[in-house]
C-alpha cells in the first residue's frame, strides 16, 4: 500500500490548526486514508478526534497510508501538510 513516512516539524505537533487542515484535506478524498505514529496503531485520517488522540508532537514520525486512484497525489499533499514547519 502506498505510504509516506513524515517527520512532523510544526512546534504545535499535529494539533490545532495543522490537525484541522490535515483532516479537512483527507475528508475531501473518496479514498480510505490512515495515519499512525511510527510503530503505532493507525487511525482514520478523516477523524479529527482520532488524529488528536494520537498526540503527535514535534519531531515524531507519522506514517500516512492510502490506496486507490489518486492515492500518490493525495499522500504527497497530506505529507506536505504534516511536515510543514
Amino acid at each position: 500500500m502506498p505510504e509516506r513516512h513524515v517527520i512532523v516539524k510544526a512546534e504545535v505537533g499535529l494539533h490545532a490548526r495543522p490537525a484541522a487542515t490535515f483532516v479537512q484535506t483527507a475528508a475531501k478524498a473518496a479514498l480510505d486514508i490512515t495515519v499512525a505514529k511510527a510503530g503505532g496503531k493507525p487511525v482514520n485520517a478523516k477523524s479529527i478526534l482520532g488524529v488528536l488522540s494520537l498526540d503527535v508532537r514535534q519531531g515524531d514520525t507519522v506514517v500516512i497510508r492510502a490506496e486507490g486512484e489518486g492515492a500518490e497525489e493525495l499522500l504527497d499533499r497530506l505529507a506536505e501538510i504534516a511536515s510543514a514547519p
Binding site: 510544526a10 494539533h15 490545532a16 484541522a20 482514520n44 477523524s47 478526534l49 488528536l52 488522540s53 498526540d55
Partner: protein, 561 residues
C-alpha cells in the same frame, strides 16, 4: 419567582430584561433505557442530530470569524467526526438509545483527551459543548445558546461564559450578564466591560432563576433583583441615565479638578480595538497586549506582519503615547512555538512573560526590531515594557535589549510583589513602570485568578494591594520615572481617584470605562485624591478602605457612583 441575589458588580449600569438561563449542566441520559427497537431509525436520529450541530457550529463560526470563529469551526469538525459516528452507530446496534450512544461515544474521546492534558486537555470543554448540543437536539430541548437579538434584550444568566459563548453577542441583545462563577478579571467581566454591558459575577443561585423571570441587575452594587416592581426598574434606569448624562458632560484630557494632568489611556488587544478607544476619548494606549497577534498560531508572525500591526496602532494617536507590552506568553496563554522547557505543575508560577522571552531571545529581538521600525515611521511616542519582571537584573536585561533595538523608552510591568518591594532598584534600570493590578493581586494574595471562590482576594481595594501600588509609585518617583496603572482597577472610577492619590501618573483601562474615570477625576482635587488614598491604606479591609476613601470624594454622588 421574586427575591434578591447578591454577587460582585464588575461592569456598571442597570440592566433589565427576562432571564435567559444558559444551563449546560445536563444529567447523563439513562444507560438502562434501550431504544424502541428500530436500530436503523435510532442510528439515523443520532447521526442527524450530530450533523445538525455541525452545520450550526460551522455557520456560527463563519459569521464570528477571528479566534472565536476558529474554535467553532474546530468543534464542527468534531461533530462530523467519522470515528465518532461509527462508535455511536455501534452503540445503538448494541441496544443503547440515541442519546446514550452519543453520550458514551463522546466519552471515549473525552477520557483520551483529558488524560493527555495540556493543549488536548483544554479541548475537553469544546468536546463537551458539542456533546451537550447534540443531546439537546435529541432530547428536544433548546440548545443552550444565547438567543439571537429579539424585540426585548435579555439578561444572560450562566454558570460562567467562555469565549465561544460570547463570540456572536451584541450589546443590543444583552441587557446584562449574571454569572454564578467568575471574578472581576474573568472572561465574563472583561467582555462585559468591553461591550459596555452591566454585569454581576460570583452570584450564588443565579442559574436556579427560572427562565423568563424579569431580572434587574445592578452592575455597580452587584445586586440582582428578581421580578422587581415597576418603580424599582424606573429608579434604576433613572440613576443609570443620570450617570450617563453626568459622564457625557466631561470631555478632554484626564485631569484632577485643580488641573493635575493624568493621561487616560486605553487597554487594547490590537488594531480592532482602536475605534472603541478613540470613541471614548482615549489619549493614547496604556497597554497594547501583543500576545493576541501570536495566539493560536503554529509559528510567530513575521517581522513585517508585526510591524504593520504596531504601526496601525501608533498612527491612531499622532503625537500621543502608545505603551506596548512585549509578548506575555505562558500560564493561561500558552503558545505553540514557545513551549515551556518542561512540565509545569503550576504554570502561573512557571516560565512565562520575560522568563520565557529569555529562553527564546530571537522572538523578543524580532518583536523589538519590528516595534522600532514602526516607531520610526510614526509621530506617536512609543514606550515598550516587559511583562512579569521580578528583579532589577531582569529590568536591566530588557532595557539593554530595547536600547540594542534602538527603542527610546523601556519600562517594566509591576505585577510581581518582589518588583514593587524593590521598586527603587528597578527604577534605576527602567524608564517607566506600569502596575498590572490583576496579576499583582494574584501573586500577592497567592490566589489564582481563575478560581471564582477566591474573588474576594482579588478585590482591588485590598489594603495590601494598595500598599504595593504605593511602593511602586514611590520607587518610581524617587528616580523621576512615571508609574502608571493598567490593571482593571484603573477602570473603577472611585479607585482611580485613590490610585492618583497613591501617585499613579496615568491610568489605562478598557475603553468604555474611560468616561466615568474622567468625570470622577474632574470632580476632585489632587489633594482630595491623596487624602482618599491615605484613608484607604489606613483601613483594615477592602470594604472599610472603599468607605474611607469615599468619605473624601464627595463628587462621586453626583455621578451616581
Amino acid at each position: 419567582m421574586s427575591g434578591t441575589l447578591q454577587g460582585i458588580g464588575v461592569s456598571p449600569g442597570a440592566g433589565f430584561g427576562p432571564a435567559h438561563v444558559m444551563s449546560r449542566a445536563v444529567p447523563p441520559p439513562p444507560a438502562d433505557v434501550p431504544h424502541g427497537g428500530d436500530a436503523g431509525a435510532e442510528r439515523d436520529r443520532a447521526l442527524l442530530a450530530l450533523e445538525r450541530v455541525a452545520a450550526d457550529l460551522q455557520e456560527r463560526g463563519e459569521r464570528a470569524g477571528g479566534e472565536g470563529g476558529k474554535i467553532l469551526q474546530a468543534q464542527a469538525l468534531m461533530a462530523r467526526d467519522p470515528g465518532l459516528s461509527d462508535g455511536v452507530a455501534e452503540l445503538v446496534r448494541a441496544g443503547k438509545s440515541a442519546a446514550r450512544a452519543v453520550y458514551e461515544g463522546f466519552g471515549r474521546y473525552r477520557s483520551m483527551l483529558a488524560e493527555a492534558g495540556g493543549y488536548l486537555g483544554a479541548r475537553v470543554a469544546d468536546l463537551d459543548d458539542v456533546r451537550d448540543r447534540a443531546l439537546a437536539v435529541l432530547e428536544g430541548r433548546p440548545v443552550a445558546d444565547a438567543p439571537p437579538a429579539g424585540a426585548e434584550p435579555y439578561v444572560l444568566v450562566a454558570r460562567d461564559l467562555a469565549p465561544a459563548d460570547t463570540a456572536l453577542l451584541s450589546p443590543d441583545q444583552v441587557a446584562a450578564f449574571v454569572t454564578e462563577e467568575g471574578g472581576p478579571t474573568s472572561h465574563t467581566s472583561i467582555i462585559a466591560r468591553a461591550m459596555g454591558v452591566p454585569a454581576v459575577v460570583a452570584c450564588p443561585g443565579a442559574t436556579a432563576v427560572a427562565p423568563g423571570t424579569p431580572v434587574l441587575a445592578d452592575g455597580s452594587s452587584g445586586l440582582v433583583r428578581l421580578a422587581p416592581s415597576g418603580e424599582e426598574v424606573s429608579a434604576a434606569r433613572g440613576a443609570a441615565a443620570a450617570r450617563r448624562a453626568a459622564l457625557a458632560a466631561v470631555t478632554g484630557p484626564g485631569a484632577t479638578a485643580d488641573g493635575h494632568a493624568v493621561p487616560l489611556l486605553a487597554n487594547i488587544g490590537g488594531p480592532q480595538d482602536l475605534a472603541d478607544a478613540l470613541e471614548h476619548g482615549a489619549e493614547g494606549v496604556g497597554l497594547y497586549r501583543t500576545e493576541f497577534l501570536f495566539l493560536g498560531r503554529a509559528e510567530a508572525p513575521s517581522a513585517e506582519e508585526q510591524e504593520a500591526a504596531y504601526l496601525e496602532v501608533l498612527e491612531a494617536f499622532p503625537g500621543g503615547q502608545v505603551v506596548v507590552r512585549t509578548l506575555d506568553a505562558g500560564a493561561d496563554k500558552p503558545l505553540a512555538f514557545l513551549p515551556p522547557p518542561g512540565e509545569e505543575p503550576n504554570p502561573a508560577l512557571g516560565e512565562r512573560g520575560i522568563r520565557l522571552l529569555r529562553l527564546h531571545p530571537e522572538v523578543m529581538e524580532t518583536q523589538l526590531a519590528a516595534l522600532a521600525r514602526a516607531a520610526s515611521r510614526s509621530t506617536a511616542v512609543l514606550r515598550v515594557m516587559a511583562p512579569m519582571v521580578a528583579t532589577a537584573e531582569e529590568a536591566a536585561l530588557f532595557a539593554a535589549a530595547c536600547r540594542e533595538a534602538g527603542l527610546a523608552s523601556a519600562g517594566v510591568m509591576i505585577e510581581v510583589p518582589s518588583a514593587a518591594l524593590r521598586a527603587a532598584d528597578l527604577a534605576a534600570e527602567a524608564d517607566f513602570f506600569s502596575v498590572g493590578t490583576n496579576d499583582l493581586a494574584q501573586y500577592a494574595f497567592a490566589a489564582d485568578r481563575q478560581v471564582a471562590a477566591l474573588a474576594a482576594l482579588h478585590d482591588a481595594w485590598q489594603p495590601a494591594l494598595l500598599d504595593l501600588v504605593a511602593l511602586a509609585a514611590a520607587g518610581a518617583a524617587g528616580r523621576d520615572r512615571p508609574c502608571g496603572v493598567c490593571g482593571e482597577a484603573a477602570g473603577d472610577p472611585v479607585l482611580a481617584c485613590v490610585l492618583v492619590g497613591l501617585g499613579a501618573a496615568s491610568l489605562s483601562m478598557s475603553a468604555p470605562a474611560l468616561p466615568a474615570v474622567r468625570a470622577a477625576l474632574a470632580r476632585h482635587s489632587r489633594e482630595q485624591c491623596r487624602l482618599a488614598a491615605r484613608a484607604a491604606r489606613a483601613a483594615a479591609s477592602p470594604a472599610q478602605a472603599r468607605d474611607a476613601a469615599r468619605a473624601h470624594l464627595p463628587g462621586l454622588s453626583g455621578l451616581g457612583l
